[in-house]
Every structure is written in structure tokens, then in C-alpha cells.
């Protein structure tokens, strides 16, 4: 379970998060919506441990552990996965090698045996087939020359293989056509279980047609200003964010 209490953070002198309160129980998918500049991406980066963000107050725990005290790789080992809004290209690094290195690092940290190349490929090929992705996805360099949709699908492939307990999807739907959107959504839905939870950050309601959230939260000016069921997303789509910030 992810529990965020009164979380504040800033970049340099600029206060971005101003007291976020949010609880995501295991087995649930929560959506975070909100206007540009509300702090949605900052929340995902603070939770995944990116440099340059200073936490000025509050706490964030996952399954009881203080995740803000952990290095990014320790958060990954604890089961937290961030699907990037802009996945990074790694020229010279083969995708299969990258994902296997990541998977084995996480397995090692969890005290599980590492996978050899053959066992990994078997697992990866099955995941690729499940996600209807092209076979050559593993052979190419990480995200190099990938289309926007392919990059997002590669994030979902990594997520499927790393099998996190908590996935944070940072505007994974941006720049996706409807087919890619469905694949991403299927990737998330396939992980749904009592032990899996997700924080889906999105600007639009569209993604939530495919990943139906248990709860929807509106983040505005660094705070959760409203929470509700899936119907809240539809209301936002119809009326926009105007007026919410004052609420």
C-alpha cells in the first residue's frame, strides 16, 4: 500500500507539491488528473527518486517502508516501477541486455536467483507475444529509433517483466494512437491482481476508458483538490479543470 501524507517538494526555489495526501491500497488503480503544471510529473519523480527534487515536508511509504529514504534502484527493488513520460534512449545498449540486467539486479536485491540468457529470452518472448509487440523489440538498442508508441510499449514490456507491486505511469498515453493506447492499457490490466496497484497520471480521460480506475484524484497547484470514482474523470472531460483549483 502506498501512503502519501502531506508531501511537499520543490525544484530549486519553486514549490511544486504543497501537501499531497493520497493512499493507494493494494489491488487498486488510482488515476491522477490535473491541469498542466499541477505537479503530476513532479509527484511521479519524487516517488521514484529522481535528482533535483527536494522534499520539504511530509512522508511517502510503500508497504510501510519510507521510500523517500531509498535510492532509485532500491525503490525498484522494493517493487516500484515508473513508466516514463519520455523514455530515455540508450545508444549502444541492447534492449534484451538492458532488461535482463535490470531484472537480475532486482531479483538479486530481493534474494531471488538470477536468470541466465536462455531463461530470460523465453520469458521476454512470451511477454512480447502477450503484448502483441514486434519480435525485434528485444534486439534493438534501448528506445533508439523507436517511434513514440514503440517507446511507450517498451515501457510496458519492462513493467511486465519486472512485475512491480506499484506502477506509476506518467502520462503514458501522451503521443499514443488508439492501437498503442490499447496495448499499453492491456499491459497494465494484465498485471491487475490483489497485490498490484497503480498510479496512472494522465491529462485526458481517454486512457481511463481502457484502464478503469478505482479512484480518480484531481491534482491542482500541488494539492489533491478532489477525489471520486471513475465518474469524476467523465465530469472533468465535460467541464474541464476550470473552477476546481478554487475548490
Amino acid at each position: 500500500m502506498l501512503v502519501i501524507k502531506n508531501l511537499s517538494a520543490r525544484i530549486g526555489e519553486k514549490e511544486i507539491l504543497r501537501g499531497v495526501d493520497l493512499t493507494v491500497p493494494d489491488g487498486e488503480i488510482h488515476a491522477i488528473m490535473g491541469p498542466n503544471g499541477a505537479g503530476k510529473s513532479t509527484l511521479s519523480y519524487v516517488l521514484s527518486g529522481r535528482d533535483g527534487y527536494q522534499v520539504t515536508g511530509g512522508t511517502a511509504t510503500y508497504n510501510g517502508a519510507d521510500i523517500l529514504a531509498l535510492a532509485p534502484e532500491e525503490r525498484a527493488a522494493a517493487g516500484i516501477f515508473l513508466a516514463f513520460q519520455y523514455p530515455v534512449e540508450l545508444p549502444g545498449v541492447g534492449n534484451a541486455n538492458f532488461i535482463r540486467t535490470a531484472l537480475n539486479a532486482v531479483r538479486r536485491a530481493r534474494g531471488e536467483p538470477e536468470l541466465d540468457a536462455v531463461a530470460f529470452l523465453k520469458l521476454a518472448r512470451a511477454a512480447i507475444k502477450n503484448l502483441s509487440m514486434p519480435d525485434d523489440m528485444l534486439k534493438r538498442n534501448v528506445n533508439v529509433g523507436f517511434s513514440g508508441g514503440e517507446k511507450k510499449r517498451n515501457e510496458v514490456l519492462q513493467m511486465a517483466l519486472l512485475n512491480p507491486g506499484l506502477a506509476i505511469l506518467d502520462e503514458t498515453d501522451s503521443g499514443l494512437d488508439i492501437d498503442a493506447l490499447k496495448i499499453v492499457a492491456e499491459g497494465v490490466n494484465a498485471l491487475r491482481s490483489e497485490k498490484f496497484s497503480a498510479l496512472v497520471i494522465t491529462h485526458y480521460q481517454r486512457l481511463l476508458d481502457h484502464i478503469v480506475p478505482d479512484r480518480v484524484h484531481v491534482l491542482a497547484a500541488g494539492r489533491i483538490v478532489r477525489s471520486g470514482g471513475p465518474e469524476l474523470a467523465l465530469e472533468l472531460e465535460a467541464h474541464g479543470y476550470a473552477g476546481l483549483e478554487a475548490a
Binding site: 521514484s48 527518486g49 529522481r50 535528482d51 535510492a71 532509485p72 534502484e73 525503490r75 525498484a76 527493488a77 516501477f81 515508473l82 516514463f84 523514455p87 530515455v88 540508450l90 545508444p91 549502444g92 545498449v93 538492458f98 532488461i99 540486467t101 535490470a102 531484472l103 539486479a105 532486482v106 536485491a109 519492462q158 519486472l162
Partner: protein, 366 residues
């Protein structure tokens, strides 16, 4: 005796040999080879302090006796080498013969400063093939000044892989000269990891149509090391290709130098020349000097060169860490990725494994 070159010479503008000149070197003394010499399961030639060690060697058929040296150039280091050379390998592969792969180990072990001046020669007949894997290692204060003369007849192929992992107090100044005839290919890769000061000076002349040369290098340097890769590629005939990808990874106070000259003769139409030099600086005190030179006298050629100097990208490191890869391993992965293109000519499996291990070891001892 010929004097050491100084920085007044354009070819030595960035590499200062003052520290070498300050040491008084004696002729090498015989020494026993250490027990654990590198062994790749290939025929092997072992040189200890410059002298051929027949007991530790398993020579291939193409090995010929050493012959006296006559130096025709005005290269200062080759002249000094000629005055002192007493040994070295001479390999002659007959026409259309595939001589396989050969490991050559040059080991130096000295109490007092010694200068080692081997003269090596490699001749491949028409259509002949050979792979040479050279490892230079040692300990103590010494100056290793090998000169290698290579001649490839028509359609011959020489793969020449060098691992320079000399002792920390040594100087390694290698001169390689290769004449490549029509249709022949010289595939070279050098990894420079050791030595206090090192230079690989490579002169390649493409003398017949469709000759090609791949002169790649990787330098991995730390401390106060200086590593220099200087190449001169002369295109004398049409339809020849030269490819150079040189990558330097520099940390601490290390300095890297790359000088690359491509000369295209008036007759060398349809030349395809490519030169890429990239440096990764892992410390604010590391330095890289890059000097590309193109001298083109033909009008229908394709020649390109590029140079970049940068640092590891924090976005890439965070991306890897967010996937569970610890920071050190993330940096190592990115450094290895940076070197990938330079390693392209290393197609021999044992050589590839040797360089992988050397890169890994360099990273691990950081």
C-alpha cells in the same frame, strides 16, 4: 643518437615526452617469464623484455627469423628503434593461405629503467589471412617502443588487435606502418588502458583500388595518465575506404589526445573516408585534445569527420537506476555502450572476450 621529438614538432604538439627524456634507460636485461602469462588457447609468441622466449612460445609456421633493421623514414621514434632493435617477430604468410589467429605477449619486468625497442614485421601474400592479438604488459619503469611494419598484398586480410595494458610507471610508444594493396583489408583495434604515457601512431597507405583500413581505438585512462592516438591515412588509389572510430573515457586528471590526418591523393577518386572521435569525461579535471586534418586533392570523394566531448547523461543514469540497476553498474553499462562502435572490428571471439574483460577490469578497479 636521434633525439626524442619535442612539442615543437606538429606531430607531437599535445604529447610531451619530457618525463621520458628525464629518465636514463639502459638496455634490457634478460628475465624469466612470469608463470601466469595470458593464454587464449592459440599459437603464442612470448617476448620478455624485448627478447623472444622460445621456451614459452608455440610458434606458428609463418614465423621467420629476425633480420637486421634498416630505417628509411625520418620518424624520430622509428630511428631510435632502428638503432637499438635486436629482436621482434617476423611473420610471413604465403599467398592464399589462412594462417588463423596468433597471440603475441610482450612482457616487461625491470628493476632499473630499461628501454625495449622491438622491430616487428608482418607480410601477407595475395589473398592470405591472419589475425594477430597483441598484449603488452609489464611492471617497473620501462620504455616500450615497438615499431611494426605491415605489408598486405592484393586481397589479403589482416586483423590486428592490440591490448596495451602496460605497467603504471611505463611509457608505451608504438609505431605501426601498413601498406595495403588493392582489395586488401587492414582491420585494427587498439585498447589503451595502461602506461603512464602511451601513444599509438599508425600510418596506413592504401596503394591499390578497393583497399580498406579500419583503425579503431578505445582509451580508458585515469590518474595522471596520458594516452595519444595519432593516425595518418594516405589514400593513393581510387575506390578505397578508411574508417576510424576512436573513443576515449577519461577520469581523474587523465589526458587524451587524438590526431587524425586523412590524405587523399589527386588520383584517389571515389575515396570513402570516415573519422569519428568521441570522448567521455568522467571528471572535471580530465582533458581531451582532438585534431582532425583532411588534405584532399581529388574532387570526387566522400570524407567526413566528427568530434564530440561529453559527460555521462544523468537522465540515462536515472533511467537505468529506476529499473533497479545500481548507480555503479549503470555507469559501467553506459561506458561500455559508449565504446561499442569502436569495438566493431573485433570479430574474433577470443579477442572480443579479452577486451570485454579488460574493460570490465578497468571499471572495477576505479
Amino acid at each position: 643518437m636521434t633525439a626524442l621529438p619535442t612539442r615543437k614538432l606538429e606531430a607531437w604538439r599535445y604529447t610531451d615526452l619530457k618525463a621520458l627524456a628525464a629518465i636514463s634507460f639502459s638496455d634490457p636485461a634478460p628475465a624469466p617469464a612470469p608463470a601466469n602469462l595470458p593464454d587464449l588457447g592459440l599459437p603464442r609468441l612470448v617476448f620478455v623484455n624485448g627478447a623472444y622466449d622460445s621456451a614459452r612460445s608455440t610458434p606458428p609456421e609463418c614465423l621467420r627469423p629476425f633480420a637486421a633493421v634498416a630505417e628509411g623514414s625520418d620518424l624520430p621514434l622509428a630511428l631510435i628503434n632502428a638503432a637499438h632493435a635486436r629482436d621482434g617477430y617476423t611473420l610471413a604468410v604465403p599467398d592464399h593461405f589462412d594462417a588463423g589467429a596468433l597471440l603475441i605477449v610482450s612482457h616487461a619486468e625491470t628493476e632499473a629503467p630499461q628501454a625495449i625497442h622491438p622491430r616487428h614485421r608482418v607480410t601477407l601474400g595475395a589473398g592470405a589471412r591472419l589475425t594477430i592479438i597483441e598484449i603488452a604488459i609489464g611492471q617497473g619503469v620501462y620504455w616500450h617502443n615497438p615499431v611494426t611494419d605491415i605489408s598486405l598484398d592484393e586481397n589479403a586480410t589482416l586483423a590486428h588487435y592490440r591490448l596495451q595494458d602496460e605497467g603504471a610507471d611505463s611509457f608505451h610508444l608504438a609505431t605501426i606502418r601498413a601498406n595495403i594493396a588493392a582489395g586488401a583489408a587492414y582491420q585494427a583495434f587498439t585498447a589503451a588502458i595502461g602506461a603512464k604515457l602511451s601513444r599509438a601512431e599508425i600510418h596506413v597507405t592504401l596503394t591499390g583500388p578497393n583497399a580498406s583500413a579500419h583503425l579503431n581505438a578505445a582509451q580508458l585512462l585515469g590518474g595522471h595518465q596520458l594516452g595519444d592516438v595519432s593516425t595518418v591515412v594516405s589514400h593513393l588509389a581510387p575506390h578505397c575506404a578508411s574508417r576510424q572510430t576512436v573513443k576515449s573515457v577519461l577520469t581523474d586528471h587523465a589526458r587524451g589526445v587524438f590526431q587524425g590526418r586523412i590524405e587523399v591523393d589527386r588520383l584517389a577518386q571515389k575515396t570513402d573516408g570516415y573519422q569519428m572521435n568521441q570522448a567521455l569525461l568522467l571528471s572535471p579535471f580530465a582533458e581531451m585534445d582532438i585534431k582532425p586534418e583532411l588534405q584532399i586533392f581529388a574532387d570526387d570523394v566522400k570524407c567526413s569527420h566528427g568530434a564530440t566531448i561529453g559527460a555521462l547523461d544523468p537522465e540515462q543514469i536515472f533511467y537505468l537506476r529506476s529499473r533497479g540497476i545500481p548507480e555503479d553498474a549503470a555507469r559501467a553499462l553506459l561506458i561500455r555502450a559508449f565504446l561499442t562502435e569502436a569495438l566493431a572490428p573485433v570479430t574474433h571471439e577470443a579477442a572480443a572476450a579479452l577486451f570485454e574483460a579488460a574493460i570490465e577490469a578497468w571499471w572495477t578497479r576505479r
